[in-house]
Symmetry: C2
Subunit: 342 residues, 2 copies
Amino acid sequence: MEVTIKDVARRCNVAVSTVSRAINNHPDINPQTKAEIMQAIEELNYVPNNSARNLKRSDNKTIAVLVKGISNQFFNKLVTEIEKEIRTKKYTFFLQHVDEHANEVDIAVALTKEKRLRGIVFLGGYEYHTKESLSQLTVPFVTCTTSDFGNNEECVCSSYAVDDYKESYKMTEYLIRQGHKRIVLLGPMEHDESIGRRRLEGYQAALKDNHIDLDEKLIRYMAKNVVTYSMRNGYVVMQEALKEKLDFTAVFAISDLLAIGACKAIFEAGKKIPEDYAVAGFDGIDETFYYEPSITTIRQPIKELATSSMQALFRMIKSKESVPGIIFAGELIERASTNPNL
Amino acid sequence: MEVTIKDVARRCNVAVSTVSRAINNHPDINPQTKAEIMQAIEELNYVPNNSARNLKRSDNKTIAVLVKGISNQFFNKLVTEIEKEIRTKKYTFFLQHVDEHANEVDIAVALTKEKRLRGIVFLGGYEYHTKESLSQLTVPFVTCTTSDFGNNEECVCSSYAVDDYKESYKMTEYLIRQGHKRIVLLGPMEHDESIGRRRLEGYQAALKDNHIDLDEKLIRYMAKNVVTYSMRNGYVVMQEALKEKLDFTAVFAISDLLAIGACKAIFEAGKKIPEDYAVAGFDGIDETFYYEPSITTIRQPIKELATSSMQALFRMIKSKESVPGIIFAGELIERASTNPNL
């Protein structure tokens, strides 16, 4: 039976927290007590640190997490959750950021050979991949926050994401119900083949179903010379729109960071949110609550995305068979940036 | 001589961007052109992806980056910079988050054995480590953003950080010059032995040198049941202070995220920033600019911290000798959260 910190505490007749202080070299402990605890640890052959213990057992069973594009708060939180799941299952966690213009599948193929991976997690990603390219992926993988290439017969894979079209439709329709007809869509990339495109299509469909003519001028693509999906990108694009004296009453930014940048540009122009312009985002990062005013957003279920995609990956590693993916519902959180009564 | 993407473009008489599109399976390319490019790539024996190529060369030369406590925007940016430096030097980058109550040195010792590390980067960290414990670290290491244990004779090591005492003194004195006498210090931990303690001491010294009596009630420790250094922690601690009707005119939060949380609590209480309460932070994350009002802060030189600490680590890996660390100057950025004229 494994020796736990409780056994050490019992042996020394001290609290578990005291043992923890001794182990972590905390200064706030009686030296005599500490010596006794260290003695007991040795006698009981207790391995003090959970993380240290897990490391020893990992046997080079590595799972790689490939994050496409620059890291942002949303992905960081997701990575932290995924890291936890991977360590709990005694796998080694390997993180690699992939440049937004690089091909993540090529990198995954190289990594698989180099690190003898057991599985791969793709976060983000907006490249089109051919069947030939995907068929080179010889280990199970999941795509998380995107369904772009997580559903295909060539591979052992699965896909976990919200329905970007539907969630975007939901937010656009909400803004229309709030009385807006001229809604800026901020943030798809030109020639976007992934998330941005689906969010654009959801926006277009909601306008159409509500008999509002689409004005192409209201679609504001991300700036190309600025980090994608960043606060700065939302800021410069909105500055440009305001300078042009674009006629609009609401902004739907396809990421929260873009929304925050847009808010700052609006404030700098001496305008009020939501009185002059309503602003909504997408993702549900904590910053949207702490911003003033708090920003309306679509919350993606980060914890569920992480847990279910990793469970699927572990299952696929065992069974070598694809499992069905899951489309999650996002949650529209209405806040003061679109509703002056909140 | 190495074949580059330019050679491929020249051979096919197309633009480099076209070759890139072919490599990355971009749909927006003529299939015939793509076939020609792929043919040329094979003939020239061009290895298309930089990252993929680097991976193959890494030979398991691993550097581990241990991040203490929960990830936040400041550390994330630093990790991204450090990751870049590590990959440029063809080392393998290994990231591990360390629970804030765990002992990072024990984990590093275990990792060194498990992964046959060449070097270690410690980010953050606020535990006291004995000489005995440190002497177990048999590979060179740097501490970054903290000088806690990066200067000792037992190890090959070096330390890169700002002078927390001095920078905190600077900010406190700035607030005093702005006319504030009752300044809340938000965020040290009780029994803090690291960054928080030095920032507290800088605050105390600035008050003393300006003949302002220290009021212990103005020191607001982080909440223990909430993630440290988080927006939420600043938010709940400031809510509590406002509920108590604490008498103060300014808040100096020892991290930007704490400052943002404090701002939200102040707004929710119906108060204005900076008219009712001035607020300042520490770290210089981008969010402080985009917040409304923009938040005064001390900018830590992230890029320089990353570059110089990694250069030192690479040197120490070669020479097996410690190199002198560097104390960097922070930059006080004055913004509207403490100056209504900005």
